[in-house]
Symmetry: D2
């Protein structure tokens, strides 16, 4: 008899989580409740239901939820308000999905009276950390089972053997070694492992699934507009859209124009470097558009403070600290800045590139009258600059007198 009675498993329906389902039942002699989320990964979810049933999970313990709107509205958009880029380049597509999965899993655990949760993330990656920090933050006393850190199915061969021994269907393409592994949701697809492991070798084209090769993208640029309200996207080309609808539409545009491919060697929270390939088609467009609208609506003080906080904010999300007081504090600061981040950005999409070519806003802080080279009718007295420079220089002059140069 095990001390675990009922466990909620984050269940994709794929081979690995199917094996985990069975392994949990067997190892812990416990009920397994499955939770499958539609985060826009672009896969059918009903097969997951069938598989769960096949392994004896009763209907009322199979949870399949469409979380796409919640994902974009409460996770992707808030993060985008912060212009978060991990290590200067990565739009955090995987990182930002994990807290939502963890949160829903805990909600289900409470609803069904489960005493444990489980996930299929491996022991070398960041996702185990993100899932489990989410679990523990939301349900401090929950039992967490991480099969990849516990079991002895440490090679592909043994995993397949276990699956065969337990009548778990094995997709043909999973028999052999997969040349890379992927994670996908509405924001991005990531790939890593095997063929990507030499950071000197170019990522083979077949690894990309969400975007055309820029070289195959249309020869004509496409001009679009995105409307923002209070820091969040609300319309594409003037047509109002819900968060997930907007991101989906931007993904389609990004795919077509080969936008958002990133080949990165990054530093994992668990301490090693890994090489990954990311495709963030719509997110890349959105990120730059958001910067574009901020350019005319954010005050310099707010903008620079945001820029200084952004690396830390991104690191917190990457490391799995979405549900932490410090991430929430930074979010409070970021959100405070977004009240007037409203207006329209015009962008040109072309052959892998996104170029902001125009922005306007009812709340613009840009003033032609002040900035013009021409006579500005007293909006700005050039003589003020002399005093401004003199006082900014004062400490440097005192220093120069002391130190010479």
């Amino acid at each position: 008899m095990s001390d675990v009675k009922r466990v909620v498993l984050a269940f994709s329906g794929g081979l690995d989580t199917s094996v985990i389902l069975k392994w949990l039942q067997q190892t812990y002699q416990c009920e397994v409740v499955t939770f499958t989320a539609d985060l826009g990964q672009g896969e059918e979810l009903e097969p997951a239901r069938a598989k769960a049933k096949l392994m004896g999970v009763p209907d009322h313990h199979i949870f399949i939820d469409d979380l796409r709107e919640e994902f974009v509205k409460d996770y992707v958009f808030p993060m985008m308000r912060g212009n978060a880029l991990y290590e200067g380049l990565y739009l955090l597509g995987t990182s930002i999905a994990r807290p939502l999965i963890a949160k829903r899993q805990i909600e289900i655990a409470r609803a069904v009276g489960a005493d444990a949760v489980s996930h299929g993330a491996t022991g070398k990656g960041n996702d185990q950390v993100r899932f489990e920090l989410g679990y523990y933050g939301l349900a401090p006393d929950i039992r967490v089972i991480a099969p990849w850190r516990e079991w002895d199915l440490t090679s592909r061969t043994r995993l397949i053997e276990f699956a065969e021994a337990h009548q778990i269907p094995i997709p043909r393409d999973k028999r052999g070694e997969s040349p890379f592994s992927t994670d996908a949701n509405l924001l991005h697809t990531s790939s890593e492992g095997k063929v990507l492991e030499d950071p000197w070798e170019e990522v083979p084209d077949y690894v990309y699934s969400r975007t055309v090769n820029p070289e195959d993208a249309p020869d004509q640029p496409e001009i679009i507009t995105i409307d923002f309200e209070r820091g969040d996207g609300v319309a594409l080309n003037g047509e109002g859209m819900s968060p997930a609808t907007l991101l989906t539409a931007l993904n389609e545009l990004g795919r077509k124009h080969g936008i958002g491919r990133l080949d990165l060697v990054e530093n994992r929270f668990v301490g090693m470097k890994s090489r990954g390939m990311y495709e963030t088609p719509g997110g890349t467009i959105y990120h730059l558009a958001h910067r574009g609208i901020e350019q005319i609506t954010l005050d310099r003080g707010a903008a620079h403070l945001k820029d200084e906080l952004a690396p830390r904010y991104a690191e917190l999300i990457y490391n799995g600290f979405w549900f932490s007081p410090e991430r929430e504090m930074l979010q409070a600061a970021i959100d405070h800045s977004q009240e007037k981040v409203t207006g329209t950005v015009r962008l040109k999409l072309y052959k892998g590139g996104v170029h902001v070519i125009g922005r306007k806003s009812p709340y613009t802080l840009y003033s032609e009258k002040v900035v013009t080279f021409e006579d500005d009718a007293g909006a700005y007295d050039q003589r003020d600059a002399a005093g401004f420079i003199k006082l900014n220089a004062l400490r440097l002059r005192l220093l120069g007198r002391r130190d010479g140069r």
Copy 2:
């Protein structure tokens, strides 16, 4: 009689600084020493000599210096080590040239016994601040003359009238209003004003001068390599090059592939927003290549600290504080991190895009053995992750117990 005896003027030989030269002579009844720097702006400098002579500057008071190598080696490259981007996007091409001009001007002032320096920057811009903070920091008691803040030539018409009245040659294309103003050096060309003043309107194609339109760039991507040693570029496609030679070669590549165009609304230090267009062809390639080599050679702790310091560092350069203790402190931190930033980056250039597609280094910190999904022969014990997560979660669990969620 004026209290200024001899003034060193940053003199381009163009209409504006020619007018200033004459105006200084007339207004201050003083000797004017001209200083013209070759920073790679791509203009002939000898005409400047002729013009200075024409206005009576004696040969030994005409200084024309080729500062290209010093510019790239001591200013551009150190800045690039810091991955500096102002407001997330701008590579600081104008900002980084000003301190060098100021420094050389002060050296000349000392050499010729001048008591003042002067420049042609306007009273609304950042450059006046950058020049003058440089002057004051290096020569605290120097007299600074900023004609644009002092004189009454406040319209184009009056400037032209003054020129005509004093036999200053007026280039045909300067008679009318220029549709925009530009600044250029080896790192970039910037344009602003007039036709660019509505941030909703796309920058007209004729404003660009350093790059082809991406749509007109070659249909075939080009693969290049850049070698780095201790954080600085040393070779292109395996061929060793001096700093300025390397940047010049990258500029040529960038021009050809339409790389490095940026349309930006930025916040000036003097308090207003302005809209500018930047072309940084070689610098854009170099910046991304430097990030690429850092990805495998920098430790996470160093990399993240650099990322957190970068916005502040960029702001200091933008605001004109190159010669300040705090910029130097940040530089000391940045430079300390670059000792092993040595290796080769492979990049693909295509239609305005720069894509890092490979990096290798004798000092790589990337370890396939550690990161692999496969059995890693004990390089990493997955069980360690459990403890790592547990202790990272401890404070969140205590918090969760207190607060619920």
Copy 3:
């Protein structure tokens, strides 16, 4: 005829602002509206009314407001939530009062239809900046008159002459040179100038006015408690008090025990160093008590983020940017952290020292069970520490293998 019709003057009733009142009337031929605030500076305010009347200000243009509660509740306490210390030591007593005065002055200007505001701060100090950034932020088009930067009363003698010539009463002790100048409010008294100008010389005892010399303080320590709710003090020794009442009571305790004296050489925003003496009796106690209650109620992530933001936050307040987006963003982050900062702190006051000796809270995050050396019944598994250390060390090991040492 002047272009100023009606000006609201921040009027203390002292000699300087009396001279300013007259000078404004004379120079601008305008109506002067006086505003005198009770911020707890400990002076009678009615004499200010009499003086204003004497110089012809009609009753309905004399404003005397008791702002003590607003000052503590909306300015001092929010700042204390951020543990703000300028340059590591200064509790910002002058800086935090200026925005409130500016705000009220603008309100009055609007109420009486004034087109200008004026203040008595000198041209070398920080206060002119703080007042005027406040004015401009709240009323962008207001006219600001800063007599000390405009007039020719540049020596004490001429000021006195002007006063005599205009029948302005001169207090006996103002005839000669004052040995130092002071500013006071409920939070602190500052002194600077003259006898304090040599930073090697000890501040003479007669400069202190708010505290006894620690050497003359009671030989017996006094134990007190302060209760906090959501980050703000609410009770002293168990007795509920309004913000200003609490600070007043703490000031009395601080005075008695010689607490809160600070001799500081600080860096002014206008670029020079100055030497000041501060007495912040109650504020010093409060600041340490607030840190004490945070120690058990704030999570580490929140606490460390606050510590990292605090120097910037303090700098903003010191420099006069209270009414700026970036100060408000930081405040939003800080305030977000204070929800559970509730509980009681016990302190010992003795001979200039404040010592936190106990803290308790219904929301404490401190857990004896977890921290104990004894068997903790499974609250913490020491084995977890091994994995925690191993993964934190991983990057350092990879680095050590590369670099040796």
Copy 4:
């Protein structure tokens, strides 16, 4: 047969590390090399030699090193240059000693050909992390044995039994439960545990060992001076001293005047809060003196950057990352600022308080001429302040026009 052949143990000679010595010999059947450091903890070290011999450690495997000068010069002073305070208050006395012990242990391991190192830190504390991050950073492939995380001697009783069973001498006062545990070195003594575990209860007076109770300190204040050169203390009252001699002398002064007691609830790196008592008598004086000399010798830009970096720097030291690239980068920045931090600070010590009352320097940046209220002969033009304020206000005015208030 064990896989460990020779282990270097950080050996104090006390009961715990004696038990560890024996346990290592027994459990791993290995040679134990003892290393005992004199860091100024104030204990005889020769008894450690005798104990080691008694347990069979040969003479040439007993290392007893006086590291006091190295400790202060290369660890305490560099840290003090950074004004490091953990959580605003703690001077990091324990944290800063660990890296030196780790470093020396690794040196010895190399010298004697040991394959492992061991320490006596418990599994709940920070010290295990600090030791082991040091070991791994300096010797990535070293084997680390942490007995407190491995063995089954989990209660005092069992530890005593083990000692008795193995003829390990047990000091009389170690038989019972110790009411608290301590760590001491030249910088500080810390105490925690048992009687300190309720953070509401005052620390009993008998816990303090390095300082008199302020109430028992002399009734007369004592005035001292400390001289600094390039950021480091070099003399007390004009008498030149080595680093360790200076700190020892300051400790004596601090002890006499009851200086440097701190009662703190802090956040451990391993995730829980703990309550500790610290006595840092000389370090407290030194820290404030260093701030004092910086006040007149550091430029504002440098000073504020240091203040912003200090919390992170302190956190790195607290968490055990002394030997990390990011700590070294920060140190490079800090050290760059200290070149002119030279001069003399005068301090008053009284009843637990340290008060800077004067500072002077050949490199002072403080200028009476500039700061004076009096006529300054043109050192500063008050009219400059108008332009300075106007341009600082410009963005706020544009914002105010947009947003109203």
